[in-house]
């Protein structure tokens, strides 16, 4: 068939090397290197586990039905609540939408603005995180899953399923600890004096199931170097950052306004859910040790928690009000795997009471 002009005679040159054997050798060496890396990872305590990606979160957000029970909040809601026990106690398996290191307000707002939703929300509150204004990292973390839920492409869905297939089988596919960017963080180079650097996140210490139920690793539940690294990793994260030498006044004022507005925004969201017949319970989960002292000092109960509960009027459970809910967190912030099951068993009656069941 006649086509266009045929004056295009450009051909890319190919370097004169034995490419066939080069390709085979490269593939073989890469496969061996990957295998070695997998063996190293398993020998160092890593096991195949799903990564808690925005795609996985979006999968579960899509599964929310009008009458679902939904868990939102921070990592304590993921580690400390056992979905099996909640299912037994509440008659329905909850959907886990809490996100580590996040302010869950954007998720609450999303559910409140979903006209079909009239279910139940179990919401974990860590006051410092709940009040995080944009663009603070906890707030942005809270948006990650939502953004993916709203804008997910077919290609991303397919990639997510292929990724899960591999993550279930390979221990080195661990986003928290074993990516190249995480490995680079292990290189120790002195910093300049007075550097304004964000604190490092604690290392990997958990595994996650397909329903986002997260279990603390045994190595972290027992005293040892991993537990210490996690413990002392929390302290700088929960210490308010020092104000830098110079921050534009309008930036500071804007942030203060946003923090103040969060009380009203939360109350509005709760009101919308109540008006549709939905329910919400706020929960303060256990913490321990130095982290407990730090949180109590920085965000005392009489401050943010009390005002939030007053303004929303929603039922709430503060763990320290109930002696049977006081547990020791091995790394100061979350419960060990067995304790999380026991804690949930003891929490269920309070939830039933709060929900009028």
């Amino acid at each position: 068939m006649h086509s266009s002009t045929s004056n295009f005679d450009f051909q890319r040159p190919i370097p004169a090397l034995p490419w066939r054997s080069l390709l085979l050798t490269t593939l073989l060496l890469t496969a061996l290197g990957t295998l070695g890396w997998e063996i190293w990872a398993r020998a160092h305590g890593y096991v195949p586990s799903l990564n808690d990606t925005p795609d996985l979160w979006a999968d579960w957000r899509e599964k929310v039905r009008p009458d679902s029970i939904v868990i939102i909040g921070d990592s304590r809601a993921i580690f400390d609540m056992d979905l099996n026990e909640l299912e037994k106690g509440l008659g329905q398996r909850p959907i886990q939408l809490a996100m580590p290191g996040s302010c869950a307000y954007p998720v609450l707002e999303n559910l409140a603005n979903d006209p079909t939703f009239h279910g139940t929300i179990l919401c974990s509150i860590v006051p410092g995180m709940w009040m995080a204004p944009p663009p603070a990292p906890p707030y942005l973390n809270g948006l990650k899953g939502l953004n993916r839920y709203h804008k997910r492409t077919l290609s991303q869905r397919a990639g997510h399923h292929i990724g899960m297939f591999l993550e279930k089988r390979l221990a080195f596919l661990n986003e928290e600890d074993l990516t190249l960017s995480q490995l680079l963080l292990r290189i120790s180079v002195p910093n300049r004096a007075n550097s304004y650097l964000p604190p490092a996140l604690p290392p990997y210490f958990s595994t996650m199931d397909a329903d986002r139920r997260t279990w603390m690793a045994d190595a972290c539940a027992q005293p040892g170097p991993l537990q210490d690294r996690v413990k002392f990793g929390w302290l700088p994260l929960f210490t308010p950052p020092p104000f830098p030498d110079y921050t534009p006044k309008e930036v500071l004022e804007g942030m203060a306004r946003m923090v103040e507005a969060r009380f009203g925004q939360t109350a509005d969201a709760v009101k919308k859910i109540h008006e549709r017949g939905g329910k919400i319970v706020f929960i303060r989960f256990p913490n321990s040790g130095e982290l407990q002292k730090l949180e109590d000092l920085g965000t005392p109960r009489a401050g943010i928690w009390t005002r939030l509960m007053q303004e929303t009027g929603a039922p709430n459970i503060y763990y320290s009000d109930h002696p049977e809910l006081i547990f020791d967190c091995p790394e100061w912030s979350h419960l060990s795997a067995p304790d999380s099951v026991e804690f949930t068993k003891r929490l269920v009656p309070y939830l039933q009471q709060a929900l009028g069941k």
Binding site: M1, S4, P15, L22, L29, T153, T179, L180, L184, S195
Partner: protein, 472 residues
Amino acid sequence: MLFNSLTFVVFFALVMGGYWTLRSWNARKNLLLVASYVFYGAWNPPFALLLFATTALDFWLGARIAAAPAGSRKAWLVASVTANLSMLGFFKYGNFLLENTKWLLAQAGVTYAPPHLDLFLPIGISFYTFHSLSYTLDVYRGTTQPTRSLRDFLLAVSFFPQLVAGPIVRAADFLPQCDAPPTPLKNRLQWGLFLMSLGLFQKVVLADTLLAPIADNVFGHPSPVLTLDAWMGVFAFSGQIFCDFSGYSTCAIGAALCLGFHLKDNFLFPFAAVGFSDFWKRWHISLSTFLRDYLYIPLGGNRVGAIRASVNLLIVMFLGGLWHGAAWTYVVWGLFHGLCLVVEHFFRLMTKGAAWKETLPVQLALCLVTYLFVCIAWVFFRATDFPSAAMLLGAMAGQIPVGQAILSGREILQVALVIHILWIAQWRLRHTTLEAAIARQPVWLVGAAWTLMLGAIILTQGSGNAFIYFQF
């Protein structure tokens, strides 16, 4: 679908398997066409319809241009240019135009509150519009004959390796390759796979892992930073955007080669550019040659006197800046390059024939100066608005005494190392090609480098971002 995604790995393996299994050339092209539309539709299926409609329109207009008598050919061309640029303008510049109209009217005391058009920008619209437009322009100029095959033209515009982020492949360079199946070429597949590995390494390891977080930190910091941090952030962005965009082009060239198609280079070691005109012969070559052939030369090029040629340059770079995005910061980036090109033009006139210019120390110094000015221009390209750009430029100039040190020692070292390696490697390769350079290396070294690149890509675990140029 991103090149740096697991979905693409599976997609490409399936397409390759099917393509080389099929015996009929027509069946192979049909497969590529379907695959290209699946590749594009995987973002947002309705946009595939838009792509089809604009391509089919240009196919029809190309035939009309060729068949029309001399007097009315121009009208058909104007129809094509208007249709293409209107679509681009609507999706990409609609809100920008409304906002600027509002501002202009406000200056005249008129209050106008335009509605915000809630538009999704079709991925890669700037690229495929130019792919398609090049066809009617070339048919009009008589440098190419119209194709009778709608399928071939649809494939030329939508060919998935170059569809969404270039290189801008002109139909005249692609359509002849559709005439017959690719001739056998030894090691084409392996070399194509090597190029794809190199491109992915540039993108996910160098750009996304080593440089992007640092650039994002500096450009996104709400308050002033120290001079060192400001420069490191800008250097990091210069490396990031090169590795990101050049990485995409290299992947595209490699993927096309695996399928038997030959795409031209889009980058030729731009860090080694000596002067801005040299820079634009090395950076995004398919765009700079497009603008040169279809805009600069028709405006009169440099045949119309120094002053008029300078104005032409500024017009071209103004539009080149605007092509990158609907914001005045992109326009300033383009005009900054335009001004540098004009200054360089006069500098060359004044120093014509001077032998000292060609000595190694002077060439090196000019290369460094070019790089620094290119970096300054990147501030406007990357900054979200003018106040942010001004704050960063102030910090780079040491004019802000209260800046913060926001980069760690490791990050500073990381940027310094990567940029030095990029700069030295490109300087050494400036008079050659990648192919020639690789052919000179011992086999073991190429194998080791390839293995390391693949290993590093696996280590990143697919956590990379979208390519920067997708948004254009």
